[in-house]
């Protein structure tokens, strides 16, 4: 997993018509919103509220998709899957992974 890039800069810029300004503004917005996205997911998981987990996961994925953050999205999907299966132990494990991935992603986006 360490070899995989956290997000796809090439296709993201391509999609934005190489408009670096848009990329920076949108990246900054994501970085600013990331703690809330993560907190929502954590709260939903603590409450064992599956529909809230799905909803918070949807927001996080929807935001991360703009940067092609494939690894993060896959991990969120795995977390959703585990919660649906009532496997909250492994879901919490996934949350830890998400936390780390998100922190690194934010650091990279901030550096743009």
């Amino acid at each position: 997993m360490n070899g995989e890039p956290l997000f796809d800069l090439r296709s993201t810029l391509d999609n934005l018509g190489n408009d670096v300004e848009i990329l920076r503004v949108v990246a900054a917005t994501f970085v600013e919103d990331a703690p809330r996205l993560l907190a929502d997911l954590r709260t939903a998981l603590a409450d064992r509220d599956v529909s809230m987990v799905i909803r918070a996961g949807h927001s996080l994925k929807g935001s991360a998709e703009n940067f092609g953050a494939a690894a993060l999205i896959r991990t969120v999907e795995a977390l959703e899957e585990a919660s649906r299966a009532d496997d909250f132990k492994s879901a919490v494990g996934r949350l830890g992974e998400i936390d780390r991935l998100l922190a690194r992603l934010c650091a990279e986006l901030q550096a743009l």
Partner: protein, 357 residues
């Protein structure tokens, strides 16, 4: 153009806001809260709404339904942002009409193309609506102009008739207002009463065709002369008949019938009761009452009491009882009209006691 963007995810909202801002002449109006976005749409005039589907509180479908409930927004273009696998959501949105879709994640090329298409649609809608408004206004103005001209024709005809008549202009105004008053009081439609006000002044236009030596003769008319006098009803009718104007059609009827009497003893045709059109029966009361209460070269002005007694006495004979009753029922307003239109040239001719009624 105003482009409202509603998405609870800040990153997506910001991305779409920036893309819209890059378009010429577009003002993005972003809302992270769907309720606030809806309020704005209902109070303002958006040109395009871009709304995310999955949102807390109000979702995209509910949002569209609420917007559509506002009649002003029944054809407002709306783009809904969904993942392309959400087929049933897309069908439901299509049911709401005027909706197209944007795929998630937002693809800039697709986004810009669809937004441009929707705004082109909006521009056409606006141009069409502006044109319709402009046309309606032009038609309204043209119709008003026709009405004004028609009224002017009527006023000028009435003036022409006045020149030939020893009666004064204020007589014509008073009797026309009395006639309107009676019609209103009888419960006839307001349009009819209004038309009567404009048509009644022409009742004596036929006197244009009465020879001077008879019309202007100071004393009594001989029976032969009176026969010629009577012809003013028929002459007036000939002048006015077959007009395409409703007011002049009514004036023709009034000219012909205002000397008919309810019991059939009037002229020119000796019609009785309902055979006399109602405008003729009304004007008969209005005309006679004002003639009685006005001073003329050959007679003094009757007092209001005397004139009132005459109307009551001739109720059912000369006059339609319904017209007399209506007239007497609004006596206060009759007095108001009398005070409003006073003869200038003969201020002392008809002194009336103030303690009438």
């Amino acid at each position: 153009m105003n482009v409202v963007i509603v998405d609870d995810t800040p990153t997506n909202l910001e991305l779409m806001r920036m893309l819209v801002q890059r378009l010429d002449g577009c003002q993005p109006i972003p809302f992270a809260d769907s309720g606030s976005g809806l309020d704005w749409c209902l109070e303002n005039d958006p040109d395009l709404v871009i709304v995310d589907y999955l949102m807390p509180k109000l979702d995209g479908l509910e949002f569209i339904r609420h917007v559509r409930r506002e009649p002003r927004h029944d054809s407002l273009p709306i783009l809904m942002v969904t993942a392309d696998h959400e087929k049933s959501v897309r069908y439901a949105a299509l049911d709401e009409g005027g909706v197209d879709f944007l795929n998630k994640p937002v693809d800039r090329m697709e986004f810009l193309a669809r937004v441009r298409n929707m705004l082109a649609l909006r521009r056409s809608q606006r141009a069409l609506a502006d044109r319709a408004t402009w046309l309606a206004e032009e038609v309204r103005r043209a119709v008003a102009e026709i009405h004004d001209r028609e009224r002017e024709t009527i006023v000028r005809l009435a003036r022409a008739a006045e020149c030939r008549d020893p009666e004064t202009g204020t007589h014509i105004l008073r009797m026309a207002h009395y006639a309107q008053l009676i019609a209103v009081q009888m419960g006839l439609p307001p349009d009819f009463a209004e038309m009567l006000l404009h048509a009644a002044p022409m009742h004596d236009v036929g006197k244009l065709g009465t020879p001077d030596h008879i019309l202007l003769k100071p004393g009594r008319h001989s029976p032969e002369e009176f026969e010629i006098m009577k012809q003013h009803t028929q002459i007036g009718y000939e002048i006015l008949r077959e007009s395409s104007s409703h007011a002049i059609q009514m004036a023709a009827s009034i000219a012909l019938h205002h000397h008919e009497k309810f019991d059939g003893s009037g002229y020119p045709r000796g019609l009785a009761r309902d055979a006399i059109p109602v405008e003729g029966r009304i004007v008969a009361v209005a005309d006679v009452f004002d003639a009685l209460t006005s001073a003329r070269p050959y007679k003094r002005a009757w007092s209001l009491d005397e004139a009132r007694d005459y109307l009551c006495g001739s109720r059912g004979a000369h006059f339609d009882p319904a017209c007399v009753d209506a007239f007497l029922a609004v006596w206060d307003e009759v007095l108001e009209i009398r005070e409003r239109f006073v003869d200038e040239e003969e201020p002392a001719a008809a002194p009336e006691p103030d303690n009438e009624r």
